[in-house]
Symmetry: C2
Subunit: 211 residues, 2 copies
Amino acid sequence: MYAYAVSTQLTRERVLRAAIRVADREGVDALSMRRLGRELRVEAMSLYNHVRGKDDLLDGIVDLLVKEIGSQPSAGDWRERIRARCIAARERMRRHPWAARLLTSRTRMSETLWEFWDSLIGIFQEAGFSDELTHHAVHLLGARLFGLTQEVFDESGMQSKDAAALVRGIQLGRYPALARVGPGLRHDDDVEFAFGLELILDGLERARAGA
Amino acid sequence: MYAYAVSTQLTRERVLRAAIRVADREGVDALSMRRLGRELRVEAMSLYNHVRGKDDLLDGIVDLLVKEIGSQPSAGDWRERIRARCIAARERMRRHPWAARLLTSRTRMSETLWEFWDSLIGIFQEAGFSDELTHHAVHLLGARLFGLTQEVFDESGMQSKDAAALVRGIQLGRYPALARVGPGLRHDDDVEFAFGLELILDGLERARAGA
DNA sequence: CCTTTCGTACTTACACCGTAAGTACCTCAT
DNA sequence: ATGAGGTACTTACGGTGTAAGTACGAAAGG
């Protein structure tokens, strides 16, 4: 006996939203295909019509969350604009406490993620940051916001599919800031770590001496 | 048929070491009780004689890794001492790329972890940091080193067992620095986030203007 | 109108997972 | 020699992700 009610038709969006709901309510560990199916009153395997698999489901969730961050209106000097984005990102993370951990565990880079980085880079560039300093800044914020340790431009962790998508996006002129800054820089994880650490130590020393 | 070779007797230490070996070789996701049993030429259930369960196994691994960080000799001014510890921590994380993700997913606080924080706090205190600034500094470094977003003193995420262990440790005089700084401060996640973010923005602005 | 096509959802099955409960064997103190 | 205690093994249960195959509704072509 099959009862196909058209009004509750499954879509990728609906599946992803339901997944977020389950994760919010019962934690991300409780989110399984079967559990998600129950939420949508559907068998687990039906979800595979809208999602390639569990990995794709999790990537989709991340994508959805990041998309909601990116659409902040930006006005003011670079600090205000960056701050607005950071606070928006944090707001999302607070609303979904499991999101940060999920984000760090995903290695796929989506179009949405590239766009997000591109917009950050754009802000720094307009403010007169050198390419190198922009690079440092993005890494530092990435670590701060998402706990990302291995990073965006580290192609070792990046699937070739994602790399291809990035190249395609750049050719289409989608990531103008990224295209301008990216190619000229060789990424060195140690350098980024040292930069961030010294910046923090400097800041602390200044706070100590100041007060 | 049972063959108990005494020379290869299982111990908790040997189990944990083997688990780290498997994680290094095949990734932390591939680490299952059965896989670990195979590594040690033992059935999965035998591991339960030395480890309470998988959670205890993972907590044990984290404990082992942190223990290796903490034993840095410390000399010089506060910056050098803190830097030495941070670099040691990072070194461990680099050697075991899965460790950072594992650390953020664990919520248990072990004696080893308390000791580590205590030693950091001690360094800041000796350098004349106010209690409040010490608090900020520890949070900032925690986020930087481990990607910890919800934090040490956030008792909401802390099991009562761990809280009891902390109190006991303090009474035994094990965490002198922690005992001095901890009680007087109310933790506010938003304040910590803002402090860290502004410190970073200040640092970036200075770098921009300076160069 | 009937029929074909296509997409969606369901069913079954498999190999994995963590672990509770019960059993066989070795080692060591008595 | 014998009992106690610990270590490892066996079996079993309910969970997981997902490959393969099946039933049905709805839309398109004749």
